[in-house]
Amino acid sequence: MDWLDRLSLWAIVILIISSFAVIVGHVGEARPDRYMRQSAAATDYVVANGERDSMLKLARQLMEGVNLDKAEPLARELLQKYPYDGQSHMVMGDVLMRKQEPVKAVSEYREAIDINPDFLDKKTPLFQGKKIKTAVAEALAEIDRKISLAPDDGSLKRERKMIYYLQRRIAGSCG
């Protein structure tokens, strides 16, 4: 290795370190701007979806008041009206958790996260990662219990795959 090779090597090392520093620095600087854009978009959305927000709020109030008889139909109506809104699936998942159906709840949480990954991003106000993690643990225990009773049931295998998928998403998330 002559002096030119050593120089090239050092240049590469310096280049990598400075690139890394620039990326890390800009990631931090970019956040407030992103938040502003996000909140501006969210504000527009609130105006455009007043009915949806009222329904979401009411469904949550009914849930916390342990009035699942009314909360569940409202959550289903939300799903029907706003199927591409992650919040609809999140509320349905919450209802199902309170009905002691963690596997079905996790399926709804998965839909919510696929539609809007911010539910697993702690840097956003939508973060729900820790609640979902608890639900995933309960669902996994429930599936394992069912599999031990009916080892040949193919639907249970599919459900377990779905739960593991969500577990991987949580493991790879920021939060």
């Binding site: 890394f20 931090g28 956040r31 916390e64 342990v66 958790m97 973060f127 608890t134």
Partner: protein
Amino acid sequence: MKRAVIFFLVLLASCNAPSAKEEKRTYKIGYMICNSEQETLHRFKPLTAYLSKKLDVPFEASAIDTVDFTRQVDTLDFTHTNSLLYVIMNRNHGVEILAAEKAGSNGARAKGLIITLKKSGIRGVSNLKGKSMVFGPMLGPTSYMSQLDILLRNGIDPEKDLTYSIPPGSYKHEKVIYGVLFGKYDAGAAPLMDFERMVSDGRIDRNEFEVVAEGELIPYCNVAVTQKVDDGFAKRFKQALLDIKKDDTVEVDGEVVKVLERAMVDGYTDVQDKDFDAVREMAKRTNMPPYQRF
């Protein structure tokens, strides 16, 4: 290989970007109302002020009714509740445990009692059938759930086998004990801690009461963090709690007060989520939230 390592480092850095860290804002601590709103704030305003000073971050104390806590938890950063509320919020709202409070003869643990008057002649749980019994608040682990568990395990269904009631308003634990003392009810569901406190204050005579049953030891009140708070900041908050000493003081409303003494606690200690499994099992047995089946 090197590319993979660099990519991984960049990813890691983005998760720990400055915006994900501690923010300069006012953090809200929700304190569960134990006896009354006024008493709760009187007890915990000094602790809140102490934490603000210690961590150099503004904190705000909010006293919240037990039944309203889950409605408001998403607006809070830290919570101070009983063990059942923690279990509910852990499952339904992603709240995580930080520290347990120490008070009374069992330290960070508490238990519920079923008490009667000695002169009533009721000596055991089986004698309670057909009698009247007064309970504390429904979401009280050692003033309702624990005693319900004892009754159900002994084949007594309060709905069918007892005349039961819950006193209205504030200071429910004291009302339960006085209700038994003055003969309004045959039996009462009281937390050991409140019973001991009233004995040591000289408000009741221990010798007049019969403890007919004791529940299992479960975690006492605790401090937890909501899921949106930065993990690093939550760790600092926890350490600040664990470090509070008996003689630590803070100035509140022009008065210097001892933080722990005013909060009526002996200190804070480390606790794990699995320590609450006994509460979870009890909630399942008694069909209480968060495992209630309809």
